[in-house]
């Protein structure tokens, strides 16, 4: 199934997502990597409202206010903060590689969308800069507020109903392994 979503994302829109569905996003996207997640987990107030938000695991390459390359970073590094992020109202997380057992924190509330890793130049075509929050963290680690226009397709890789494509791939790997 295909979903064209605009932020803020509603509870109903998230509930309709199933693994394997394709999603295109328009509206506001916030980037967050290791340091923004660490701040958030320490209870710090962030300068943005994450209710119904799309959070992008990404440290973009931006020059003179233009997004040049902005693919996803490895979600596994910040997966342990998933519950903190969802508690603040985030409904869609975009990243690569999945979040393993931390996926349980999404259940009933949020979904994880896979954007192909390394596709920074492609993503840049759909993203523009609104502003940089927390500039002291630098280009990669800062919290960028981006505007997305029909950005996708992304694959629903973990849905709010317990579906997880990464887990399925691992299960079939165990079946085919000779050990």
């Amino acid at each position: 199934m295909e979903h064209r979503l605009r932020t803020p994302i509603s509870q109903e829109e998230v509930a309709a997502l199933r693994v394997g569905d394709l999603v295109w996003i328009s509206g506001t996207v916030y980037t967050a990597r290791d340091r923004v997640h660490a701040l958030l987990a320490s209870g710090e107030e962030l300068p943005v409202d994450l209710a119904g938000a799309v959070l992008y695991h990404c440290g973009p390459l931006i020059r003179d206010g233009i997004v040049l390359s902005a693919g996803p970073t490895t979600s596994g590094r910040v997966g342990r903060f998933t519950r903190d992020v969802v508690d603040r109202g985030v409904r869609l997380i975009v990243g690569k590689g999945g979040i393993s057992e931390d996926a349980e924190a999404l259940r009933g509330r949020a979904a994880y969308l896979a954007y192909p890793g390394g596709c920074g130049a492609l993503a840049a075509r759909y993203l523009s800069v609104r502003r940089l929050h927390l500039p002291d963290l630098g280009m990669a680690e800062g919290l960028w507020e981006l505007e997305a226009q029909g950005w996708g397709p992304m694959v629903v890789a973990i849905d709010p109903h317990g579906g997880d494509l990464y887990r399925e791939a691992k299960r079939s790997a165990k079946r085919s392994s000779k050990i």
């Binding site: 590689g97 192909p116 890793g117 596709c119 920074g120 079939s172 790997a173 392994s177």
Partner: protein
């Protein structure tokens, strides 16, 4: 050799490596997309191919992770090695960071302070080989963290099967290393030599031996697939390099490289330089 030639060649190979993939790498991805049986996996490979086209058309970095500046230097034995060698290459990295541009990725490992220009203690990293001839060949091999983070080294027991070990570990890790990956394997030597063999195996990709092909088949049989979403294309290439090791040791190192196996080379001579 003129200092300005080495600086210019460094900027040029970094710019080329960041924006245009070597043709054989793009071809390997194209072949994998044509063979792929999983629709989700195929969609990932098609997005990658579209991304490769946009980056080279627009002259922008393929990936926002423009990597750490790693260079392979092949120095002719008849070349008078200039005193400015390391400094000129560092200058080139600083200029490329401004001009390409590159994301400033190099930070102090403990304070996490960013040097701001991708240079500083240990960076750029120069891998040096002596070869026949009287010129310098410089290859930019920018290395992103997405794949480097999932690389590994183990001191196995000589009774262990190193190839089984590599296949299983790569299948577990490749999904988070931006699969389909390239797998550089170093077997033997000492602790640190095994790691350098693995990196050199990536520099010498693609692998051509029967052992390379068998390990590639074994990794792809497991079904991790592009980006770990399941599928046929987990790895695009494997190369194994070996060295003698101690009779009591079996060091095994694997350096993973994402699908964006970026590199570009130039030759610097006494009277000028040119992209290879």
């Amino acid at each position: 050799m003129r200092r300005e030639d080495l600086v210019a060649a460094t900027v040029a190979v970094l710019a080329e490596a960041e924006t245009v993939l070597p043709p054989w790498v793009e071809e390997a991805i194209r072949e994998a997309a044509a063979r792929e049986t999983s629709p989700i996996a195929r969609s990932q490979l098609e997005a990658i191919l579209e991304n490769i086209g946009i980056a080279s058309e627009d002259g922008v970095p393929l990936c926002q992770d423009t990597g750490l500046p790693v260079f392979h230097l092949e120095i002719g034995r008849n070349l008078a090695v200039p005193s400015f060698l390391e400094e000129a290459i560092a200058d080139g990295v600083r200029r490329a960071t401004e001009e390409v541009p590159l994301r400033p990725n190099a930070v102090d490992p403990l304070t996490r302070n960013n040097s701001g220009d991708n240079t500083g203690p240990g960076m750029p990293d120069l891998i040096i080989d002596l070869v026949q001839g009287d010129c310098l060949r410089i290859t930019a091999f920018p290395k992103g963290a997405g794949s480097e983070n999932w690389s590994f080294l183990a001191m196995l027991n000589p009774a262990d099967d190193p190839l089984d070990f590599v296949a299983e570990e790569v299948a577990k890790r490749a999904g988070r290393a931006c699969a389909p990956v390239f797998v550089g394997v170093g077997i033997g030597g000492t602790f640190d030599l095994a790691a350098r063999l693995a990196k050199r195996a990536l520099l010498h990709m693609p692998g051509t031996s029967q052992m390379d092909r068998n390990l590639l088949t074994e990794i792809n049989r497991i079904g991790t697939g592009p980006m770990g979403l399941g599928g046929d294309a987990t790895a695009l290439g494997v190369r194994i390099e070996t060295a003698l090791c101690h009779t009591a040791s079996l060091p095994v190192a694997v350096n993973l490289q994402c699908w964006a196996n970026r590199s570009s080379s130039a030759t610097v001579r006494d009277d000028g330089w040119s992209i290879d």
